[in-house]
Assembly symmetry: C2
Homo-oligomer: 424 residues x 2
């Protein structure tokens, strides 16, 4: 039997739908890209709800938004929970927003019930998770955890030539009165709720996914160089046809890398051909490789083979393989996973352990503190689409689990700290 | 020993260079696309030179330009010779223009020397040979020979949305006083001089290429349809990856079709991937095929195999193969070829028989009358580039051969006609 949620389910759903009105698309989706007017409007609305409950808003140099519920020890590293408010250009109502609103609902619930946690509980909305307006994504969490320099992030530009720096300054100008926190303060733990973006929870009729980790990801940019020629006159045996070489390479990669095991994910998603004219032998083909695997050893081995296969099949053309992203798989904190499973069980929600195939800000937080994620189902596994959908009861269940985990972890840490301090 | 040219070599070169000033590019090339202001200005200049020599200009519904030297029998089908005045956007001074100016020089020479031919000799500049502004090319000669309907040609639009019809009306408005000939009148013979656009004449140190024919060409548009998916979540064995299918198809086509024999030319020049994002499994790949062969049987057989190979390697994706161009190879008139070889020999120009790899307006004229082409060398075989170059002496040699062929053919036809009429 499912118990009553520990949070105000109606309020959570109403606020989530109100948020989705900002940047709403005619087809029912959301276009609220990073640092846009839409995101500024979303900040205003979320800050308003936080202030109502007595939470304190602040920001930092990377444009992250923090909403703090004061704890007993204000100087202790806070407990962070949240996700992001930016969306894909044709995104949905839940990717990111569900995690921020569930976290806010959990913090507001604690505030309303006068349950003052051991340390501050801070709801966070990370800047530019999606990376659709400014590439690559996860800028806020990477800057926060020291993965990337703020100066480098500020230099990135959108398709209109606007830099992150300009857009960030505009955001901060719109919230002149908001205090700034130092970038990258110490964190006790991090929790993130997110829709699954896959079909597994729905298929297994589970309400809560206890995320074990995020699969590792490598990306490469490959450039095949040949020589241009006239399609009607250049003899076949004298050609250095970059498209023909690309086709051989791609066929070999799909055949070998794509069948290493059933966990591998291998994708050539973007291809650019030069000069790309019907009657000209192509001189240059550049293409992207997206490689993912839950085990780092398998990921590393596959990466090495990719380079070897590109070199083997390129001649008479030449090939350059440039590694871009190299994000090893990570495992989330076992104690936090156990807390999530326990809370779900207590509340009567069927759970399953699940690996995240997609990247999330939690990947970066996991490097600086114990971190974990809660997945809730999304219809047909569809995400990054306008018809993305999660059931109100599942959003409420996730937020309710968040509240219980917060309480349990804060209690456990308090006794641990007490034991540790007395034993020291 | 090379004899003195039968034409005024200085005048021909000076005029060709003056023509190249119209639409001249900073890098020394020409941008004078079909029906542009540049082509209108080129018409004005060419018509001026023709009028000076007593030739009569006219046009037709397809925007072809005719410059007629009156013959003895004005009612007899005329002898046509020429090429085109339009260029690629980054074209050179010779492709097309050399053929029109050599033809004009030949006609002007006949006029000056009072050598009145048996029938009218008409210099022609065909509308839109290149097909760069309005696709596909050879509109003027195809409309003239009945290959394509003028109404269909008028409907084609350039990148700015301007239709051929609008541009044609503008051209005719600019030359309001020019008489209109009926479209597609009877023609006695057709001759076209053109730069080779290949390296063979230069390599063999030949001044004149006696073109035996134009190799056959087929083009196809192929569309591979799969299903979009998330690169991080969709299991490899459940994918219908359009890019993977394209790579298999392209590899098989290059391996089999590209090695049928040493005469085959097989090119995949243009590729479009949808949605073309690094982390999305491609749902659709469309690509172009350009296939050429001097023998029609081989061309037809290769075309059939292309469709079969696309179907064999597409699953689990689907594939659609749409034939576009189907231009069989053609052989030029043996008597005209013999005349060209004889005239070249008489004037001391080394010749070779040569197959045209590229298409020309002469392909269409060959369907309605005896036709032939003269190639002259171009440096490094380079064409459709701004540094395209032909030597003044080679241009003069080509024009000089034109004059001699005109005289010989006209004499031969006169005696043939006389014999035929007396014998009838």
């Amino acid at each position: 039997m499912t118990s009553q949620p520990l949070i105000n389910a109606d309020r959570l759903w109403t606020r989530l739908m109100a948020l989705a009105e900002i940047g709403a698309t005619p087809a029912g989706g959301v276009n609220r890209q990073a640092l846009s007017d839409g995101e500024i409007a979303a900040w205003r609305r979320v800050i308003g709800w936080a202030l109502e409950a007595g939470l304190t808003p602040s920001t930092d140099a990377a444009g992250n938004l923090f909403l703090a519920l004061a704890g007993q020890d204000r100087a202790a590293p806070p407990f962070l929970l949240g996700s992001h408010l930016d969306s894909q250009p044709t995104g949905g109502k839940f990717d990111g927003a569900a995690g921020v609103m569930a976290a806010l609902e959990a913090a507001v619930t604690l505030a309303e019930q006068g349950d003052k946690p051991a340390r501050d509980v801070i709801v966070v909305a990370w800047m530019n998770e999606e990376g659709s307006r400014f590439a690559p994504g996860m800028m806020g969490s990477e800057a926060f955890t020291g993965e990337r320099d703020v100066a480098a992030i500020r230099a990135a530009r959108d398709a209109d030539g606007v830099s992150v720096g300009e857009a960030l300054d505009r955001l901060h100008q719109a919230f002149r009165d908001l205090p700034h926190r130092p970038l990258g303060f110490a964190v006790e733990s991090y929790l993130e709720l997110h829709i699954e973006q896959g079909p597994l929870l729905e298929a297994a009729a589970c309400t809560i996914g206890v995320v074990t980790g995020i699969q590792g990801k490598k990306t490469f940019q490959v450039v095949v160089e040949g020589a241009e020629g006239h399609a009607g006159t250049l003899a076949q045996q004298e050609r250095r046809d970059a498209l023909a070489a690309f086709a051989r390479i791609a066929t070999a990669l799909h055949a070998e890398i794509g069948t290493i095991d059933t966990d591998i994910k291998f994708t050539i998603g973007r291809v650019a051909v030069m000069p790309n004219a019907p009657s000209v032998v192509p001189s240059r083909v550049s293409f992207s490789i997206d490689l993912r695997h839950p085990e780092n050893a398998a990921l590393t081995a596959a990466g090495v083979r990719i380079t070897a296969l590109c070199r083997e099949y390129a001649p008479p053309c030449t090939v350059t393989v440039t590694p871009l992203v190299d994000a090893p798989s990570n495992a989330f904190d076992p104690q936090l996973q156990a807390s999530i499973a326990r809370a779900s069980h207590d509340q009567g929600h069927p759970t399953m352990a699940i690996l995240s195939a997609a990247g999330h800000d939690a990947r970066h937080l996991a490097k600086i503190c114990p971190a974990a994620m809660i997945f809730i189902p999304c219809r047909d596994g569809a995400s990054h689409v306008e018809h993305e959908w999660a059931e109100p009861a599942d959003v409420a269940a996730g937020a309710s689990v968040l509240v219980q985990v917060l309480r349990e972890v804060e209690l456990a840490r308090r006794s641990f700290t007490a034991r540790h301090e007395s034993g020291g």
